[in-house]
């Protein structure tokens, strides 16, 4: 049987994003319970939504690291100071590497950006604006995941700290860290 009045894809995406109001959500719920075709379409959106929900962002807060650790994720944490250039190995027993980019004064930061380039070629690997940070932490936490292995391994991580208030017009403070990854 084919649904005569299928729920539109944008509506299903809004539904899974929680962006429909209660009445609209109830209409979708009711349709889905009576319609196998739309249930199948909804499941296709749901699978992507669930995968995105459980995805680990590339920059996380310490609280996220602690939560993952409490859940049993095998994490290896490496500390770096500004200007460091060091090799790290993504060893077989680790599920996740956390690069702690320390030595940062974040107390007056309004926004912090991260730019990652390849040391050997200068190619841009990633540019993340407005990364999550704790002003009292003095560090950013980079969640290096095993599937990053297909990116350049010789990474230069440049942190730009944009101050708030009177210093807002001043150029951002920067710090760089060179992390050479080995994926055995």
């Amino acid at each position: 049987m084919t649904c005569a009045n299928p729920i539109a894809w944008p509506t299903l995406v809004d539904y899974w994003a929680g962006d429909l109001n209660d009445a609209e959500t109830a209409v979708v719920d009711e349709h889905l319970f009576g319609c196998a075709d739309c249930t199948a379409a909804s499941a296709r959106v749901a699978a992507v939504a669930q995968a995105l929900r459980s995805a680990i962002q590339s920059v996380v807060l310490r609280s996220t690291v602690e939560r993952m650790r409490a859940r049993g994720t095998r994490i290896r944490e490496n500390g770096f100071a500004p200007g460091d250039r060091r090799e790290v190995e993504f060893s077989a027993e680790a599920e996740l590497l956390i690069h702690r980019l320390g030595g940062l004064d974040l107390t007056d930061a309004e926004r912090v950006d991260l730019r990652v380039t390849a040391e050997s070629t200068g190619a841009l690997v990633a540019a993340v604006e407005d990364v999550p940070f704790d002003p009292t932490e003095g560090a950013l936490f980079i969640a290096c995941q095993r599937h990053y292995a297909d990116l350049p391994h010789d990474t230069v991580m440049s942190v730009s700290i944009h101050p708030a208030g009177a210093a807002a017009d001043a150029p951002p403070r920067t710090a760089t860290y060179t992390i050479l990854h080995r994926f055995p």
């Binding site: 809004d14 962006d19 719920d29 319970f33 699978a47 939504a49 995968a51 995105l52 929900r53």
Partner: protein
């Protein structure tokens, strides 16, 4: 041709020879719908699996004793029961006691496609920066469209359009056969 839902409900109520098969078929049809409802409204895979068990159990008990008033609209019975059980689960933080047979039907892996992190990552890289931010803010940070619009200085309508196009692009990418390394 598949038997209509109502026919299955009536076969269960009549406790005919084909009642066990009718029960299994009704559970097979509705388990994915209840599970999706649970995922959407309880936001937790374990609790969604619990919801499937609890609602199917209620369905079978009601069908066996002829308590489904309108077998032609068994979907409404399922939705109403799902709403009530989910509400109770939210209020009490309860987990169901469990039932082995129903647990097999509610097993998460069989009901929802699993997308692994490398596959998602591969497809996310094909999106542009703004599209990536919109989908991550929507689903990873649970931000509403209005909130994302303010953050990115675009309209909420734009956020929604970007989001549904991005999810469609991710879907196409995930469905495409993987390139095989030479």
């Amino acid at each position: 041709m598949e038997a209509p839902d109502a026919e299955l409900v009536r076969a269960i109520a009549a406790q005919a020879d084909d009642a066990p098969a009718a029960e299994a078929e009704l559970c097979r049809r509705f388990a994915p719908r209840i599970r999706l409802y649970g995922l959407r409204h309880l936001r937790d895979e374990d609790r969604a699996a619990d919801l499937v068990q609890a609602v199917l159990l209620a369905l079978l008990q009601a069908a066996r004793t002829g308590r489904i008033a309108d077998p032609d609209r068994v979907d409404r019975f399922m939705l109403g029961t799902s709403r009530n059980v989910a509400l109770r689960m939210r209020e009490t933080d309860a987990r169901s006691a469990g039932d082995a047979a129903l647990a097999a039907i509610a097993a998460p892996d069989e009901l929802l496609e699993r997308i692994d992190a490398p596959a998602l990552w591969r497809c996310m890289r094909a999106l542009d920066d703004r599209a990536r931010r919109v989908v991550m803010l929507s689903f990873n940070d649970d931000r509403a469209a209005d909130e994302i619009a303010a953050l990115l200085s675009i309209s909420a309508v734009n956020v929604r359009v970007l989001r549904h196009r991005s999810i469609a692009a991710l879907r196409r990418c995930l469905d495409a056969p993987k390139e095989v390394d030479a």
